[in-house]
Amino acid sequence: MAEKEQLIIESGDAAQPFKYAVGMHGSKFFTETRDNMRLMGLKCPKCGKVYVPPRGVCGKCFVEMDDWVEVGPKGVIGTFTILRFAFIDPETGQQKPVPYGYGFIKLDGADTLLQHYIDIKDESKVKIGARVEPVYAKERKGNTRDIEYFRIID
């Protein structure tokens, strides 16, 4: 008997449009970044933890937060990696620009880390604890891309 042919059905090039609400807290963060190049966090009235990205509730205390505080814009690398393998970004359908610096940034005054690109021109400087500052996009639209990346300033 001939070897069986095993068929595969492919899904093709269909696009799926999504529209995600940022919410009032995220919107405040993005408009401050866009209009004033200020980074804002929300402080928990109970435990004092400052959250970036801002969100309405401190999960640990389960209380609502509305105390805005300015954070950064400078900070340190909390942890990081350098992505070196090529893959398709499902958000854009394009290949990610590997290699790229993938940072978890601890902005001054914040207690959580913000994920963003880190400049890796000099890889030897990319270390946990290195001081960084944001490089803002010239044309800011009110999303995470308003910061192009974080630059090491040590």
Partner: protein, 385 residues
């Protein structure tokens, strides 16, 4: 009426990178048939089914509905549980709750995945926040690399230390006919394999697999009649940590710490290193084999590299970890956590064949999810008090 719960049968497929010869329900059926045969039961004996996977991997929703011919769920209660990487372990915990409640006598639990059917990184991305987390996101590997980087900075561990864990698991996989990657690797092989995301090399991480696993749980009313040496579930625990990726305490797995404390306290285990006999850990990459046994309380923080280098977690060592070869050798994601549970059960039941650790009294199995979640089960030979 709360009942004690035991695992009385397990079944697995022979996991492969690609199973184009079967569709989802046919793959599921292979594991179900083997679990029923192992327990010497038929579908007539099964009162309810729990099934799960990460349905965005295949892009096919409602496996609870469409798989009933293969799962045995025709005209039976079927419930789906899906919790990301922890799915398989959450299924086991759900089964424990159902049988333990006294409302279902025998429950069939199924975890499965056909990772070959879509783009794994693309699908994982859909589990993360579209506003804040996706811009730099790179699938499972970016968070794991960041964790390893933080651990290395905190405790001075090296890439060689991580590689030692891969060498162990790939060696162990040689004893497991169900594992996907059955070829030993050396330290040099791991360190020379392509750097994916610093400090993680290709051979530090799990593959993606097609596979299914099924586990049958029964209450104390029938467990010992079905199976001479059932695997008693002594306790379960599940903890989830954060909303956004940057909220994590990178370099530590606090959910693991919390689960271990809770479960060991419940069982009266004071020195897990001495009292446990084997661990089947959902360890998707090598460095987790260091970091997470510290968080589990097996040894102190920063002490794992030496403990692993000394052979303590190898077969024949003080506390063997992943006799099956673990996740680094095989990862059908929705099944992976349940495979850990099944493997731990087989160790307790004395059915682990070439990968059997002698005289297992207590075993731990875990599940791990991308939001640094942990699920944990404690398995024991003795019936719990």
């Amino acid at each position: 009426m709360a009942k004690r719960v035991a695992i009385v049968g397990t079944g697995q497929t022979f996991h492969k990178s690609h199973r184009p010869d079967v569709n989802g329900q046919e793959l599921i059926n292979e594991a179900v048939q083997r679990a029923l045969a192992d327990a010497n039961l038929t579908m007539k004996d099964i009162d309810a089914i729990l099934i799960g996977n990460m349905d965005h991997f295949e892009g096919i929703n409602y496996v609870d509905c469409w798989s009933v011919d293969g799962s045995g769920g025709v005209m039976k209660p079927v419930i789906k549980i899906t919790t990301g990487g922890t799915t398989g372990a959450s299924l086991a915990i759900g089964g424990y709750h159902m049988v333990g409640s006294g409302m279902f006598e025998k429950v069939l639990i199924i975890g499965w995945e056909k990772n070959s059917e879509s783009d794994t990184t693309g699908a994982i991305t859909t589990a993360f926040d579209p506003i804040w987390d996706r811009q730099v996101f790179a699938g499972a590997i970016s968070g794991l690399a960041a964790e390893a980087q933080a651990y290395m900075a905190r405790f001075g561990a090296s890439e060689r230390d991580g590689a030692r864990v891969s060498v162990r698991d790939r060696k162990h996989a040689m004893n497991n006919p169900h594992a996907q990657l059955r070829k030993e690797v050396s330290l040099e092989d791991v360190l020379a394999s392509p750097m994916l995301a610093d400090p993680i090399h290709l051979l530090d991480v799990c593959p993606r697999s097609d596979g299914a696993c099924a586990v049958i749980m029964a209450s104390e009313d029938s467990a010992e009649k079905i199976c001479p040496v059932p695997d008693w579930i002594w306790g379960t625990s599940a903890h989830n940590t954060y909303s956004y990726l940057g909220d994590g305490d990178w370099g530590r797995l606090t959910s693991m710490e919390q689960c271990a404390k809770e479960i060991f306290k419940k069982a009266g285990i004071k020195e897990p290193r001495k009292e446990l006999d084997v661990i089947e850990m959902y360890q998707p990459y090598s460095f987790a084999g260091l970091i997470w046994i510290e968080d589990m309380g097996i040894i102190g923080h920063g002490e794992a590299p030496k403990y692993v280098w000394d052979g303590n977690t190898d077969m024949g060592g003080e506390l063997p970890v992943n006799p099956s070869g673990g996740v680094i050798a095989c990862n059908p994601i929705g099944a992976t956590g349940l495979i850990r549970c099944a493997e731990a059960a087989m160790q307790v039941m004395g059915k682990a064949e070439g990968r059997q650790v002698p005289d297992v009294k207590f075993a731990v199995s875990t599940g791990f999810g991308g939001c640094m979640w942990t699920n944990m089960l404690l398995h024991g030979k003795r019936k719990p008090n």
